[in-house]
Amino acid sequence: MGSSALQVVDVTKRFGSGATEVTAVRGVSLTIDPGEVVLIMGPSGSGKTTLLMMLGALLMPTEGTIRLNGQVISDLDESQLPEVRLRQFGFVFQDFNLLSALTALENVALVASLAGRKNGEARQRAEAELTRLGLGERLGFLPEELSGGEKQRVAIARALVNDPAILFADEPTANLDSKIGHEIMRLLRAIAEEQGRSVVIVSHDQRIKDIADRVLWLEDGEFKEMTTMVTDPVCGMSLEKEKAAASLEWEGEEYFFCSRGCRAEFQEEQVG
């Protein structure tokens, strides 16, 4: 995996023309760093999914530029895009979107083989990825035989099997119960932290804020508010940087706290 970052500059997407023209996304700019977890939130119809599709090279912007590793991908020909999707991006969907006729192993191996890997190698990679995600015992199961959480982990394994730079997740916890949803969130966080991949999540789920480095609020196709998430070093609580109750600069780094009490405790323990 390379140190890719996605740069979105002044991107607009319009559908239709004339009286029926609708602007789904207008003038959005954004940079996603390697290993960063970015959460895009917003009301229904705000343009989240349209933006995600453009970021994932599934939809071409009407205006603006999207760069991956410095290469403009928003200008690429339709015939060149599959290669980008296959090798640079991984997708996780709300409905899992596993191929019903294939087993968990085959679902993952298929995507590896699409990237040109020989059958044996593709299956090895798929098996390793699934085992790493705790599905070593479920390799031969069809999607209908798996639980929701297992299906989503298969989908994540499929998204990771070609070693992508960026993972796009569309409402990854929407069809999962609370406990499994938390597991999936932690998994996505770990993928970003341990593997240095960027993770872009579109969701309504407020709990995902806990694992995000940044939360973007999209409304009427524009970013209204940009929030950076931080963790209180004392109690471990995830909080919006701008709404932190207290902050402290120590040894060249800035720390944010959920309460003055936590800052006092930090000062007492660390600063002395």
Binding site: L58, P82, V84, R85, R87, D95, L99, A101
Partner: protein, 370 residues
């Protein structure tokens, strides 16, 4: 992608059964129809093939029996017999007429045989005798059974009643049969005692049929002489020419049925997995990968259809003669080739529409909530 194609195909067993069944039916129609014509062609020349004659001599310009009339003076037999290489000459009468046996009326080639015929006799005699003799008739056993008559019973041929003295085998087809009476009865009924329809020539050992036929035409005026193979070939050609249009229409019907069934099943199969194809596109599958999937599905369906169609046709060919001696199937290699080619066309054409559909499929379809 091949694995996905096969899994998709076998996952929807009902759809696969419809697809394979439809193709099998269409190919069976093509194969069976050709096999029926093949069988008729074989049956229509059965008498010629089994006549024992090396050369068939007919009225000049007449080259076959079916729907043809040949008539010349029986005295020409003497001239033919003198030609070098000729061992024996059997003059026969021939006419297409109706045989009435009980309530059954069937169209028949009526053959008039001389008492001392050395060629042209029924080649399989199930019961009774081969040469009918005066007042007697040899008819096909299947026809006799259908009419509920047997040896000793009356049968009406050329408007006169004859006694069944022999029952032959292999002398009936879907459309007609062969009945044998004596030449004398034949000549009397047609009031042409000194005429013959064909001369059946047997050769001396070592004589070449083609050369003797040429010598006959050179030495005897007003006749056409052909080797048995040539004469049978001409007969087959007439049947083939007569059935070409019918065959073409039925083949087209079979082809259209097969095409419609295949196209519909492959199309609906693709439509049913539209979302999955969208997922694959979103994950980075190229159009050609997806075309391969559709192509493999169409090809495997058609191959299975061809196999099932062939098995059914073979079974039909085996079973049909048990129920009717007048009908059989002769499966020909060229028909298999034709069915194979039709199958490939089915597969190709059936895959076209889904391929168009896939080409236009927006990968963003995966984000539309189901």
């Amino acid at each position: 992608m091949t694995r996905l194609a096969l899994r998709n195909l076998f996952q929807s067993r009902a759809r696969l059964a419809i697809s394979v069944g439809g193709v099998a039916l269409a190919l069976m129609l093509i194969l069976a129809l050709d096999a029926i014509v093949g069988w008729i062609e074989k049956r229509v020349t059965a008498y010629i093939d089994a006549s024992g004659a090396d050369i068939w001599v007919s009225q000049e310009g007449v080259r076959n029996m079916h729907m043809a009339s040949s008539s010349f003076s029986a005295s020409l037999a003497t001239g033919v017999a003198r030609v070098e290489g000729v061992d024996s000459v059997t003059p026969i009468h021939y006419l297409t007429n109706v045989v009435e046996a009980g309530e059954e009326r069937t169209i028949a080639y009526v053959i008039g045989l001389p008492d001392q015929a050395r060629a042209g006799l029924p080649w399989i005699v199930q019961s009774g005798r081969a040469n009918p003799g005066r007042g007697g008739a040899v008819i096909d056993q299947g026809i006799a059974e259908a009419a509920g008559i047997g040896l000793g019973d009356p049968v009406e041929i050329l408007g006169e009643e004859f006694e069944v003295v022999g029952l032959s085998g292999g002398t009936a087809s879907l459309t007609n049969s062969i009945a044998f009476i004596s030449s004398r009865d034949f000549a009397r009924l047609l009031a042409s005692p000194r005429m013959a329809s064909f001369l059946l020539v047997q050769l001396k050992p070592g004589a070449a049929a083609q050369e003797v036929a040429s010598r006959i035409e050179a030495n005897v005026r007003g006749v056409t002489a052909q080797t048995r193979e040539e004469f049978a070939g001409q007969e087959r050609k007439v049947v083939r020419d007569m059935s070409t249009d019918l065959m073409a229409i039925m083949n087209l019907v079979g082809f259209l049925i097969g095409l419609a069934v295949m196209s519909l099943t492959v199309y609906t199969a693709t439509l049913g997995r539209r979302a999955e194809y969208g997922v694959l596109k979103a994950l980075g599958a190229r159009n050609r990968d997806l075309y391969l999937t559709v192509g493999v599905q169409a090809l495997v369906s058609v191959a299975l259809g061809l196999a099932v169609g062939l098995i059914f046709t073979l079974a039909l060919a085996e079973l049909l003669p048990r129920f009717s001696s007048n009908l059989g199937l002769q499966i020909r290699l060229q028909a298999l080739g034709k069915a194979g080619a039709a199958s490939l066309l089915f597969a190709g054409a059936a895959a076209l529409l889904p391929i168009r559909q896939i080409r236009g499929l927006d990968p963003a379809v995966v984000f539309r909530r189901r």
